[in-house]
């Protein structure tokens, strides 16, 4: 049986020196060394303060984050549990006020190097979007940036995803671009820093690629994490509604479509979102509830003829279940009889 060395330690003189001398030895270091470090920190703070415009490193397009108290030095990226709490109504305002980037990371708590990379990537994305830079140039500018750090890979993938998103938006029918966009968007969400926005794009990319199961997974995360209830959230809601129709999760689909008008502020601008529905009809030719969604949206803007045609297409499909058939028949009779 072993004997604890500490149990009998008191009997042994500690290396021949009195405890008083040893305490003095330790205290000497404990007082001098922290003072040395504090002195160095104070000196570099006084002598080499960070210029405010340097916070962004690449042109200072954004003000430095507010620094109201010492607490900001302690602020780590927010854990997912905190983000989930913020999703509730109480937290929304705070998230929005501070600005969200990454997985709940507030701009004020972002690593300066990460912030610089994000700034560079965003500025390049804007310039490409405005047609003022070619994608190749933008990509090269980002690659040449000398900012190192662990966030570089994430920002690089995110930038690639954004570039392809723009290309995809301009060429929705180009399958090669869609495939590339889908690959890039999924690569980004596989990284731990992925934000609600990345989940949204990955959801859209996979939905248009015919992977509705994966799309629902990403869109669910996007809906859960989306920190506001504006048009951005409404777009996620819109694609989730269609994804539910493809599944088909008929009760959820009808529940969501009943709230569509309230949730989607641009419901009356049907020309903005109808191409997406029609595109998905081509990707999922045997999904009756997509036709039902098209009919419902037409009925909102009193295009009864188009609504009726869409409902009839849905009813003609064999995959429509009983609940779907019943509800669409009800909508059809409302069209015939006028609003009840």
């Amino acid at each position: 049986m072993s004997i604890s060395s500490t149990a009998r330690a008191g009997r042994t003189p500690p290396d021949g020196h009195t405890p008083f001398r040893l305490v003095l030895t330790i205290l000497c270091f404990l007082m001098l060394a922290p003072a040395l470090l504090l002195g160095i920190l104070w000196y570099v703070h006084m002598k080499y303060p960070k210029p405010q415009e340097d916070m962004m490193m690449f042109g200072g397009m954004q003000q430095a984050p507010p620094a109201p108290s010492w607490r900001r030095w302690l602020e780590p990226p927010r854990p997912p549990s905190q983000l989930r709490r913020q999703r509730s109504g109480k937290g929304e305002a705070n998230v929005l006020r501070e600005g969200v980037a990454g997985q709940g990371t507030v701009a004020g708590g972002m690593d300066p190097g990460h912030l610089a990379l994000r700034e560079l990537a965003e500025s390049q994305t804007i310039l490409v979007n405005q047609g003022e830079r070619s994608e190749q140039d933008a990509w090269e500018t980002f690659q040449q940036s000398s900012v190192r750090g662990p966030h570089r890979e994430y920002e690089q993938k995110r930038l690639r995803s954004r570039m392809l998103l723009m290309k995809f938006a301009d060429n929705e029918d180009d399958l090669a671009i869609l495939r590339e966009f889908r690959e890039a968007a999924v690569e980004v969400v596989e990284m731990p820093l992925a934000s609600f926005e990345e989940y949204y794009y990955a959801g859209v990319a996979t939905l248009f690629s015919g992977e509705d199961n994966l799309a629902r997974e990403y869109l669910t995360k996007a809906l859960d994490q989306w920190p506001a209830r504006g048009l951005g959230y409404a777009n996620v809601y819109f694609f989730m509604l269609l994804a539910k129709g493809i599944e088909p999760d008929t009760p959820t689909f009808f529940r969501m479509i009943a709230d569509f008008k309230e949730t989607y502020p641009n419901w009356m601008y049907i020309e903005t979102y109808m191409p997406d529905i029609e595109h998905l009809e081509r990707v999922y030719p045997h999904a009756p509830l997509i036709r039902a969604a098209r009919g419902y949206c037409y009925s909102l803007v009193y295009n009864d003829a188009a609504a009726r045609a869409a409902y009839q297409q849905a009813l003609a499909m064999s995959k429509l279940d009983h609940l779907g058939r019943q509800t669409i028949n009800g909508w059809l009779s409302q069209l015939e009889d006028g609003p009840s």
């Binding site: 072993s2 004997i3 060395s5 330690a9 040893l22 270091f29 570099v44 030095w73 300066p112 731990p192």
Partner: protein
């Protein structure tokens, strides 16, 4: 749970291996080692504050594109800062033990500082690097955690020397040595951009560990044996 394991497996392996290799006849001072571990965890917070302060309030941001700024960012933040807080954490425990006239012997002190380093590395994985990818965390387990253990060995070696001489000078030397080594570990890949970083870092950490384990091999297991050695010298 699996994430906790991912952050701490390397610390557990190093600790268990060191204990198994040394304590054949006596039990390690587990209670005091636990206090050392708490000190190690606590030392991560001031280290985080210092690193963030440097990055946000001064030009010495560790990941700055400017080499000089980056170098001093690592030297002041990671080198002088992190090593100071680990050393101070361990010394505070030793101070308390000395005030209560408890001597855990050279092996206990050495292992105590290693435990501070391991706890610091684990806490750093948990609090500062939890967002890294799986394989990066595995690499941290093979590099950063043994490295912090090695820094603990440097601290333990010099604290034992200070104990033997009754002078604070070796602690200062140990502090500066660990600060320089830590800075080298962080900037080695920047200073040698054409060499595979894995080659540099794994070689460096392996050398450090070999030195530390050699020192560990030389230390007597029991307090009495160490005292006898000290008296003979």
């Amino acid at each position: 749970m699996s994430f906790l394991l991912l952050c701490s497996w390397s610390s557990i392996v190093i600790f268990v291996w060191m204990v198994k290799r040394k304590y054949h006849w006596t039990a390690p001072p587990y209670v005091f080692l636990l206090i050392f571990a708490l000190a190690g965890v606590n030392s991560t917070f001031p280290a985080m504050v210092t690193n963030n302060f440097l990055g946000r309030e001064t030009i010495f941001y560790a990941f700055s594109p400017e080499l000089i700024e980056s170098f001093f960012g690592f030297f002041i933040g990671a080198g002088l800062g992190e090593e100071l807080f680990k050393l101070v954490g361990g010394l505070m425990v030793l101070l308390l033990l000395t005030l209560f006239r408890i001597d855990i012997g050279p092996a206990g002190r050495y292992l105590g500082f290693v435990v501070v380093g391991l706890a610091f590395a684990t806490a750093e994985n948990l609090f500062a690097y939890y967002w890294l990818e799986f394989w990066t965390m595995v690499h941290r387990g093979l590099l950063a955690v043994p490295f912090h253990a090695g820094m603990g060995m440097v601290h333990g070696y010099f604290v034992n020397m200070a104990w033997k001489r009754g002078s604070p000078v070796p602690i200062f030397i140990g502090y500066l040595a660990s600060a320089v080594l830590h800075t080298y570990y962080d900037v080695a890949t920047i200073l040698s951009p054409n060499v595979d970083p894995r080659l540099i870092l794994y070689t460096f950490v392996a050398t450090l560990m070999l030195w530390g384990l050699w020192q560990w091999y030389r230390i007597a297991e029991r307090v009495e044996m160490a005292a006898d050695e000290s008296t003979e010298q």
